[in-house]
């Protein structure tokens, strides 16, 4: 299976777009290497702004560039852009309606053994509570490329989080994506898995295994945390059991968003899979995810557990 990292998909597409559209700018905070913007900076120096290690300043500068009629993309580690510069995202960008896109790379627990300082496991909770900001957690490189095309055209500010490593490419290269519309990848009747980001592929694998054992599950890729696809969530609830999986705290992320919808409209039993409220276990990202059961096997087990508990299967 083809493996690609999403940050590379982003930078390749944004450089292509910026070559034609001179209003597209990229900003980095000594992060051009980790974002993979080195070529962009070399080929389009007049559209690249280095801000040094100063995330608050970078987001403010981006808001000022937007005020001057440009379309800035601020790119750097998600852990810093979702916390260090959170107030600039809220005030200078979202509240002020400046057209700034925040691309948080190496998100979730991508940085693995670098520890909690470098993990972004609160960003969905934080960013989706800010009015005026769209939030996307894309799941593969094809989707990231399509999302980049959307972001370059959109006049709405957005926060996007991608991982660091290469992950399976499972979308057809011609697949199209609509913000606010989840992608339904499988249809089942015993339960539904709603996942985002790099948990979508393990969710698909888990659904395959469930199917082998005689349980059919729907799988949704909720890459659009905001605008959220409430219709897809209500449809998922028709199965009578919803499991959410995300590389994020179990507080306030995708699971929180889904439960906010269901608890008020169509309450059904849920399992929220994510990172527990503790200082993160140390190891590389695969080891951290495995420790917390955020794998296809882990999702499978929690799904079976849910079926037994809630559906007496």
């Amino acid at each position: 299976m083809e493996m690609r990292h999403l940050r590379g998909a982003f930078t390749q597409e944004i450089e292509r777009l910026a070559t034609e559209d001179k209003t597209i700018f990229a900003l980095a905070t000594d992060s051009r290497g980790s974002v993979t913007l080195t070529d962009f900076a070399k080929h389009l120096p007049e559209q690249f702004v280095e801000c040094g290690i100063a995330e608050q300043d970078a987001v403010g500068i981006a808001a000022g560039l937007a005020n001057s009629g440009l379309r800035p993309f601020v790119c750097g580690p998600a852990c810093f852009y979702s916390m260090r510069s959170a107030e600039q995202v809220k005030v200078d960008v979202a509240y002020s309606h400046t057209n700034v896109k925040i691309i948080g790379v190496s998100g979730g627990v991508s940085y693995g053994a670098l520890g909690s300082t470098h993990h972004s496991t609160q960003d969905i909770a934080l960013m989706r509570a800010i009015p005026g900001l769209e939030v996307f957690i894309p799941s593969d490189a094809v989707q990231m490329t399509a999302l980049t095309d959307y972001l370059a055209k959109s006049d709405i500010a957005a926060y996007v989080r991608v991982g660091r490593g290469a992950v399976p490419v499972f979308y057809d290269v011609n697949a199209s994506f609509t913000p606010g519309k989840a992608v339904k990848l499988k249809t089942g009747c015993d339960g539904a898995i709603i996942a985002c980001g790099e948990m979508v592929y393990p969710a698909l694998k888990a659904a395959d295994k469930l199917n082998d054992k005689g349980y059919s599950f729907s799988v949704y890729d909720m890459f659009c945390i905001k605008p959220l696809d409430t219709i897809a969530i209500l449809e998922a609830a028709d199965t009578g059991f919803v499991l959410t999986a995300e590389e994020h705290s179990v507080y306030g992320g995708l699971g929180g968003a889904v439960s906010e919808v269901l608890s008020q409209v169509k309450p059904v039993p849920m399992t929220i899979m994510g990172l527990p409220d503790e200082k993160t276990f140390s190891g590389n990202s695969a080891e951290v995810l495995a420790h917390y059961g955020l794998t296809s096997e882990g999702i499978y087990e929690r799904a079976v557990e849910g079926l037994k508990k809630w559906k007496s299967i």
């Binding site: 608050q56 403010g60 107030e87 005030v91």
Partner: protein, 273 residues
């Protein structure tokens, strides 16, 4: 405008701002009075920015980083015709866009400010934008002196020098006070001009309540290749005999007697919206 006209306009703006604060029974009186001369010279004398070019890409950019001094800012925008002046009567009223900090839902306000330490980075972005797109507009930002303790100010101070932003003018309303007392007691700032000089800025200090000095400064030729910093020494509560240099007037609201006393001191008969 002549010097006398600028002096009169600044006092008119002070009276207007104080009346807004009195009507709303909320506001930031001290800083509003100290910054009024700076804002008056910028909006009536120095900047190429008015309602006629408010959406032109070539307009000069203005950011009020010390957003709590919004009352004279709104008073000026209303007076200049960015919105009907009568709307100043709605300041801080339920549902009004004219709230207690600059709100860019109001015509003339570029971005929302009020969380301190945000204006200079945004102004740096606007100035870089002008350089990169070949536009001749100038960018102006007004900060408070207490605000200088915010780290993001210095991130932007570094970036402004790094990018040689000689199209950027920053002003510090150096009234020497902040909400808890003198800046030098809360978090010592001096020598502020040396700090900015060492960061690579073109720094000037002058009396920020002297409109002719401000006029001279903004019309002077400045060195190329450096951002421009004006440390404007001002009096907090300027023009109000009962409020000058008193920290408690940071956000005190005048009584009706004090409002009348202020009108007399400012040479204003009445304020109508």
């Amino acid at each position: 405008m002549t010097t006398q006209q600028l002096i009169d306009k600044a006092n008119e703006i002070r009276a207007c701002a104080l009346t807004m604060i009195f009507n709303a029974q909320t506001g930031h009186t001290g800083g509003a009075m100290s910054v009024s001369d700076i804002l008056t010279v910028l909006f009536y004398d120095a900047m190429n920015f008015g309602p006629e070019n408010a959406s032109s890409p070539d307009r000069d950019r203005f950011f009020l980083s010390k957003g709590h001094s919004c009352e004279p800012y709104y008073a000026i925008l209303g007076d200049r015709g960015f919105f009907p002046r009568s709307q100043l009567a709605t300041f801080s009223q339920a549902g009004s866009p004219i709230i207690g900090h600059p709100n860019n839902a109001v015509n003339g306000v570029e971005v929302c400010t009020g969380a301190l330490g945000h204006g200079l980075p945004v102004a740096v972005g606007a100035a870089i934008g002008a350089k990169r797109t070949g536009k001749a507009y100038k960018t102006f930002v007004v900060m408070g002196d207490g605000e200088q303790a915010e780290g993001s100010v210095w991130e932007a101070a570094m970036a402004a020098a790094n990018y040689k932003l000689d199209n950027l003018w920053a002003v510090v309303d150096r009234n020497g006070l902040q909400i808890s007392g003198p800046t030098e007691d809360v978090m010592a700032l001096d020598k502020l001009s040396e700090k900015y000089s060492s960061f690579g800025w073109d720094v000037t200090e002058l009396d920020g309540n002297d409109v002719s000095a401000l006029h001279e400064y903004f019309h002077s030729d400045r060195p190329k290749g450096k951002p421009h910093m004006l440390i404007a020494r001002t009096v907090k509560g300027k023009g109000l005999p009962f409020a000058e240099n008193r920290p408690e007037w940071h956000h005190k609201v005048p009584t009706v007697e004090q409002l009348r006393e202020a009108y007399t001191a400012l040479g204003i008969k009445e304020v109508r919206f």
